[in-house]
């Protein structure tokens, strides 16, 4: 019951992430093209466009990486996994999930400290936007990725066990 509600919540979250990703990528394309048109057609450009696009790259990467965590699609060396018998496979994949989970929570805490520091002594990322607002995605990414791997730890990674046959 609880697992099902978590799964629903997770799917809802993934939906929001997909929409956000869509907006971020299209804004990236739009900004870059607009900048080229302004520069070549009208002889001026938006001063902060380049910085803004770079922030969008960071956001698209981290949102994409959150989604990759949902299905455990992160790049890995899985030679050994292919050779493992089914019965050890579940134990190993759970151990791996536990490891990712721990690393992510440690990183989440320290990224939170970084954002907090930026909040207390603000810098500007681009235009009027402070760095802490742009960097806030980092702890968020680690928390959500950590939670997703925690979920994989509890329920096991179905995608992998069925795939390796």
């Amino acid at each position: 019951m609880l697992l099902n509600s978590i799964r629903t919540l997770d799917n809802g979250l993934a939906r929001i992430e997909k929409i956000l990703l869509f907006i971020v990528v299209f804004t990236m394309i739009g900004m870059a093209v607009l900048q080229i048109i302004l520069r070549n057609g009208f002889g001026f450009g938006i001063v902060w466009a380049e910085s803004f696009i770079r922030i969008l790259v960071l956001w698209s990467a981290l949102i994409g990486a959150m989604l990759a965590a949902k299905t455990n699609e992160h790049i890995k060396i899985d030679v050994a996994l292919h050779k493992l018998p089914e019965k050890y496979l579940t134990i190993v994949t759970r151990l791996l999930s536990l490891f990712v989970c721990i690393i992510c929570f440690i990183a989440a805490y320290h990224s939170y400290l970084f954002v907090l520091e930026e909040y207390n002594f603000p810098n500007t990322a681009f235009s009027q936007v402070p760095t802490w607002a742009c960097a806030a995605i980092i702890p968020l990414f680690f928390v959500i990725t950590g939670l997703r791997y925690f979920f994989l730890l509890i329920v096991g990674d179905q995608s992998r066990t069925s795939e390796t046959s």
């Binding site: 990528v25 394309i29 698209s60 790049i75 030679v79 990224s111």
Partner: protein
Amino acid sequence: MIYLAIILLLLLMFCGAPLFAVILGASLLGFYANEVDLSVVAIELYNIAETPLLSSLPLFTFAGYLLSESNTSQRMLRLVKATFGWMPDGLAIVAVIACAVFTALTGASGVTIVALGALLLPSLIKAGYKERFSLGLITSSGSMGLLLPPSIPLILYGIIVQQVGAGASFDFDELILSGVLPGLLMIFVMSAYILWVHRAEPVERTEFKWPELKVALRQASWELPLPILILVGIFSGVMAVSEVAAIAALYVLLIEVIIYREIKLNQLPDIVTRAMIMVAGIILILGCSMAFTNFLIDAQVPNMIFDWIKEHIDSKWTFLLLLNVFLLFLGAILDIFAALVIVVPLIIPVALGFGIHPIHLGIIFLANMQIGYFTPPVGMNLFIASYRFKRPVNELYQASFPFMIVLLGVVLLITYWPALSLFFVEQ
């Protein structure tokens, strides 16, 4: 204690832990041992937003995913067939060229075998090529074209080298252009090998037909400007690579959605998601690696590696040979982008120390990785081909082995003939 943790991390890595977590774990461990504030990891990750040209990665990849979701592969194959099909062993050579062009345009995501393989395999067999030959040809051609512009891996290589610094400087245009000759050489040698195999029993040739070429040209008329747009965009110097990527993405989006109407608007969020999951994996590892690399540089590890190698190897050529062996092995176990991000920062100082040009190093790196795609045991294209053609991986190992030997020869040539890679570089 530290050594125990390092062994544990290595064990986790080879058991299939996500690489970003392993690298992040290693950086956290290293900084902790050196009593550096661990927030530095977040700062390094934020550095992604300070890296120039990086937006070309998601944008080119998105354009590539759009192309592979539409019928571009069919139109392109028809065009290449109509243009080159009349030559001796035309169809097999067409297969190589078509794969190369498609990989160049879509990036090296293994999509070439999926998109073109199903069209090529039956027609190759029907034309009279042996099944095993055809399977090997397609599997090994799946990564052909990796070096041809816009070459997403080469762009990533350039970005990493710039981030590391290490005193290597070059123009991005030169870097991207440098892949052309080695890339063409691979296609040429593959074609020569095909002709050589069939020298005794030539496969029946097809006739060149103007009307067919005209139809093929008309069908692909909207996609044909794309490579030209990319080439002119990059080499005219008017735009940065990342801007060319944005225009390419917009252009492909417009033609596939509005003109060809092969991609519906409601498919777009899904395509964006899949493209970004792939790119995100790379950029995340890049971010985590930058933290780790900085730790290693602080700890003087690249210098130690260099000193150690210098002690045992004194010639540049021996070093290059060992580099080839190492990269082949690396390419067989690791995704090309992950390999670039993790290994380039470590070998660039060493290679520069041996007097190797950074652009030449990049070409050697990718040429080896290209073969890694179908090197046993885990070359990605072997599995994609196995899945796609419903054949055991073993059969594909054997089928692609002769092609691997041929391409290895080319890699050696590329390695020991720097002038080929540096033809466009102003010395």
